[in-house]
């Protein structure tokens, strides 16, 4: 970022700008309990769950949709 006036001089600034700091609750996945249904991947509005069900905490904002959509309650939300 160009600091003056918060001007952005090159594309891709959203990659540098880690938005995970917005999170209050952090989703923790118990991979033992996971049944690979991929609901969390499909429902995550931020695309923060990869195909191995690893959660990208740099960008996860802690909305908790994955926890709600998990059919086997393998995800619990913990306060940061």
């Amino acid at each position: 970022m160009v600091s003056i006036g918060c001007a952005i001089s090159e594309p891709g600034s959203t990659r540098k700008n880690k938005t995970g700091s917005w999170r209050t609750f952090k989703p923790i996945l118990d991979k033992e309990a996971c049944v690979d249904c991929d609901n969390c991947i499909m429902f995550c509005p931020e695309g923060c769950v990869n195909k191995d069900h690893d959660i990208d905490y740099d960008y996860c904002k802690g909305c908790g949709i994955c926890k709600v959509e998990c059919p086997v309650q393998a995800i619990k939300m913990e306060i940061e």
Binding site: I4, G5, C6, A7, S13, K18, S21
Partner: protein, 382 residues
């Protein structure tokens, strides 16, 4: 060039012509209107090579000015009172985007009740927008300050917009002799604007006016404070250089007979002339009074004020504005940042004349204080 007789509005327009802005979006409003008329005439006559945009409101005037500034050209606009109120939202954006805009504000009272006459409530209400605010005393200072304002705003360590505040009617419509400068003289002082940081250029794509989340916002605002602090030095340097070149020196403040004064009257704008007259009269009677004119209200030069007032016992602050429950804005700032026994006086609201008697009364009430803030010339219920 020989002196010419003109209003401050004309002097401001002449200075703008010499500064050669490339885009001038402006919307007329009393008592600024003649600035926009003179500039329209200059453009129509080919004396000023600028895009003159006839916008539909002040919100659009400042928006177009900001847009043009972000395209990397020198710009100018002017407004007053309700027009400045309508600009409020974009004033903050202009400062935050670090656009070196120069704007003249013809100081006028704010509605309600509707009033077209002078006080300084309009610009004072915008003091936290992040603009540098310079208040001028007469037409000559208006002319000189516009030229300096571009140097200050465009200084690479400042990059903040500058508002040049002129008392409505008292300055804007009153004719005075003004020593104009030739284009060749101004060109030695004010070079063409070359944008360096954030501006739109197809060769170097950039995104301006961005969203900044909590990770960045605080630092962006703090950068503005750093620039505002730096601008104090720049205002002094530019004012001194102007003095060397053209014989009229300017600074953050101007003091008159303050060295041995027991009471110093502090004020801004055209009122300083009346105060200087009263100081002379009171000095003849043996009273030790002085005048401190604040030229730069933002940045607020509190260290310089402390130095100038160090020998005085008390300050009497004259405000043409009011913050409800507190008093005048200048009074409140002096109470916060300076270290003297200070009394505030409200006068000259909505065009009420600032007569010498009011200023003498302020001196008396500072010698024998009754209360901290006094409204001068307040009429009893009839």
């Amino acid at each position: 060039m020989a002196k010419e007789i003109m209003t401050t509005n004309r002097a401001v327009a002449e200075a703008v012509k010499l500064a050669k802005p490339q885009v001038v979006p402006v919307y007329p409003i009393t008592p600024q209107t003649t600035i926009s008329e003179y500039l329209a005439q200059f453009v129509a006559d080919g004396d000023l090579d600028a895009e003159y945009i006839r916008v539909e409101s002040e919100h659009s005037a400042i928006s177009a000015t900001l847009g043009a500034s972000e395209a990397g050209v020198r710009v100018f606009t002017a407004t007053s009172s309700q027009g400045l109120m309508l600009m409020h939202e974009i004033l903050f954006a202009a400062a935050g985007m670090r656009a070196p805009i120069v704007m003249a504000d013809a100081n006028r009272a704010i509605s309600a009740p509707l009033n077209i006459w002078n006080d300084q409530q309009d610009s004072i209400a915008q003091r936290d927008a992040g603009w540098i605010q310079l208040y001028v005393e007469n037409a000559q200072e208006g002319f000189d300050t516009i030229l300096q304002a571009y140097r200050i705003a465009e200084h690479e360590e400042v990059m903040l917009p500058v508002m040049v505040c002129l008392d409505g009617f008292i300055l804007t419509h009153t004719v005075e002799p003004v020593d104009l400068l030739e284009q060749e003289e101004v060109d030695t002082f004010l070079k063409p604007y070359v944008p360096k940081f954030a501006y739109l250029d197809p060769e170097r794509p950039m995104s301006l006016g961005n969203f900044a989340d909590p990770e960045y916002y605080t630092e962006a605002r703090h950068d503005m404070q750093v620039a505002m602090d730096k601008s104090m030095e720049v205002i002094k340097e530019v004012g001194a250089e102007f003095g060397e070149k053209f014989g009229r020196e300017y600074g953050l403040t101007e003091s008159y007979l303050c060295e041995d004064a027991e009471i110093i009257l502090v004020c801004m704008g055209s009122m300083a002339s009346t105060v200087r007259y009263v100081v002379d009269n009171l000095r003849e009677k043996g009273e030790k009074v002085g005048l401190l004119k604040i030229r730069s209200y933002r940045p607020f030069p509190y260290e310089e004020i402390d130095e100038i007032t160090k020998n005085a016992d008390k300050l009497a602050v004259l405000d043409k504005n009011f913050s409800f429950g507190i008093g005048g804005a200048l009074f409140a700032d002096l109470k916060t940042k300076c270290h003297k026994e200070t009394y505030g006086f409200i006068l000259g609201l909505g065009g009420r004349d600032v007569v010498p008697e009011y200023i003498e009364e302020a001196v008396e009430l500072t010698k024998n204080p009754v209360k901290e803030v006094t409204w001068l010339g307040l009429k009893e219920d009839e």
